[in-house]
Symmetry: C2
Subunit: 199 residues, 2 copies
Amino acid sequence: MAQPQIVNGMDDSPRGKLLSAAARLFRARGFDRTTVRDIARETGIQSGSLFHHFSSKEDILFTVMMEVIRFNTARLQEAVQGVADPVAQLRGLIRAELQSIVGDTAEAMTVLVYEWRCLAAEHQEQALAARAVYERIWLDTLHAVRDAGGMRADPVIVRRLINGMTSWASNWFDPAGPLDIDGLAEQILHRVIGEPASP
Amino acid sequence: MAQPQIVNGMDDSPRGKLLSAAARLFRARGFDRTTVRDIARETGIQSGSLFHHFSSKEDILFTVMMEVIRFNTARLQEAVQGVADPVAQLRGLIRAELQSIVGDTAEAMTVLVYEWRCLAAEHQEQALAARAVYERIWLDTLHAVRDAGGMRADPVIVRRLINGMTSWASNWFDPAGPLDIDGLAEQILHRVIGEPASP
DNA sequence: TTACAAACCAAGCGCTTGCTTGGTAGCGTA
DNA sequence: TACGCTACCAAGCAAGCGCTTGGTTTGTAA
């Protein structure tokens, strides 16, 4: 009954399958409503065997979050590398973040956003530090866009507004719908640099 | 130890105090991590006494959510009533929604956004129906803005993007910071109708 | 003063939870 | 063959959970 698809940037080791199943369940039911017995059943092992791989249920959550942060930070970096035009950089960042949130790492990313407070305090600190690297990339590009005259608003505020638009997409965006990820990215880009002149 | 401030549009009856305390706890710890004993302690009663007022813990959550939806739908309606200019209407809506999310009903609104899946299926339906009335107001105004030439994008998409920007504000906006609610509202408005010409 | 309902208390039941424990199967190496 | 390591199972414990129960206090009105 359990056919654990491997996604979210995890490998196909027992540990990786376990993380992938956990991410899916955490997203669908939430961390607290997912039991270790659920995760075990989905992975095809006994619940006690989980603790051979992880020290606690919370440790599983923490690992899922750290993996997805690192994976998507790398993706963000790739999106700006070698791109000179600030606006093109920004378009790349928006696409990359949307890909994270509604694309291939959707499960783990949603967990990252919604189950934050289920992390132990010390783990929150570690995740926050990893998150800071991610945000640095965004702010550098947004400053470049403003310096080039592409927008006039405060980059910090704009980043927060973009973050809201992309995160919220997990609640409504349908990849099978009429609007694809690039189309949505363009819509969000227009909220930042304005709409192009009429056709 | 327990001094239950009354907020979120609840009255000061035992029932209202209970709802207000529950909203605060649900926001701070999440629904699943809040025990009926926590709510009882905060309200100043025994945990069993909760069930004199509500049939279940989930019933408390549902009541909190329905109250805040109705309260803020009324606020939204007031914001557009008697206002002719579509852009002025839109500004009023953005301000009203921000007031809901980071202002006086912040606790209950955050719960509405983040604890949705903790509702029983039948209660989700009811809340969804109430939510539809709320969204109707937004879409009417956004269509008016577009018809008046204030923007060119699809009102449905724009509403979703605005919803993301306002909801996400609960994660970072500080009322004591340099930016006040009206200032943030103006920033969001500019994401929709563009920035005004340079000074 | 009596009557009655709403509001509450004290105790605890039954169940689920995360996690532990002691033991075993399979496999590569010497 | 013997060793040792990783991965796993079967069973169950202690704690915490939502909720129930039977009885008591409190406020209000005739």
